[in-house]
Symmetry: C2
Subunit: 187 residues, 2 copies
Amino acid sequence: MSNKLRQHIEEIVPLTDQEFQYVLSHFSFRKFKKRQYLIQQGDYVRNDFFILSGLVKSCSTDQIGKSHVVFIASENWWVSDPEAYHNQTPATVDIDCVEETETGYISLENREKLCRELRKLEYFFLRKTTAGYIASQKRILMLISANARERYQFMLLQYPGLLQRVPKSVIASYLGVTRETLSRLST
Amino acid sequence: MSNKLRQHIEEIVPLTDQEFQYVLSHFSFRKFKKRQYLIQQGDYVRNDFFILSGLVKSCSTDQIGKSHVVFIASENWWVSDPEAYHNQTPATVDIDCVEETETGYISLENREKLCRELRKLEYFFLRKTTAGYIASQKRILMLISANARERYQFMLLQYPGLLQRVPKSVIASYLGVTRETLSRLST
């Protein structure tokens, strides 16, 4: 499993074996079953999770108890509740497994230590954070100005090959459309 | 004007006079009049703008020509079209001035050069990008699961003192509500 993590980091910065072993010593690994939670609303969030295999969804529950899909993530994505992780505030979302999911995860303390000690890792996390920021901005644009068809097309582009793995109710919630509208779009 | 930039950077990393002079040599400064554009949809985006004074809004125009406010930003915020800036793709938003606005701005090339040469600046931009990522996630949560009243309250918290400076039509568009709903919320 650690090979996938190395490959992922090395897409941005090359590491010597010794450096990778040091990086690795700051990570832990855990397998979650389908429907298990990585993070639950209200939790104190210790970790940022790198998905080695599997699929998760992040949901926010509104005042009347309705759940809304914030994002879907599979292999090679990092997932957490960013504000809760970085600012040590309670989680505002649930992240649970749509499939059995293997993760490598790192605490904020270990991440900051690695960034201080190994400049390559600071650069890696800057690039990853920038990518997360860009993806979030695109999601905002989609939410405020795209119609249902554009949202669906955006999703096909952003998550190629994922539609078969995710229940239709999750896709509909991610797009903010009804199941009926989704059926019309996907035919 | 450069004092404000120094103060802003030094909230995160202290700089010697010499370091700051070096940082400063990578920035340019420009004053924009009310209604002038920092970025126009379709542009090649060279710069990330730090707002020294004034107020701008970012808008996305949908297929039927309706404009939607993505964000509002004033003193001490950084604004750009993140994807266009980082990935050198055409801008997907317009950013224009609600008030006369003074900016310090930096090209991607200069920013990357500074990050390579001065580790403190890399750390500064990592912190700023993380803050932008967190703010974007909160905006997503607001858009997908908050009702009109919650959105309004979120805005009061995120932009204290700004409501008086922004036209009601801009606030209504940012919140995704009608002018009538906004009137009800703000009384």
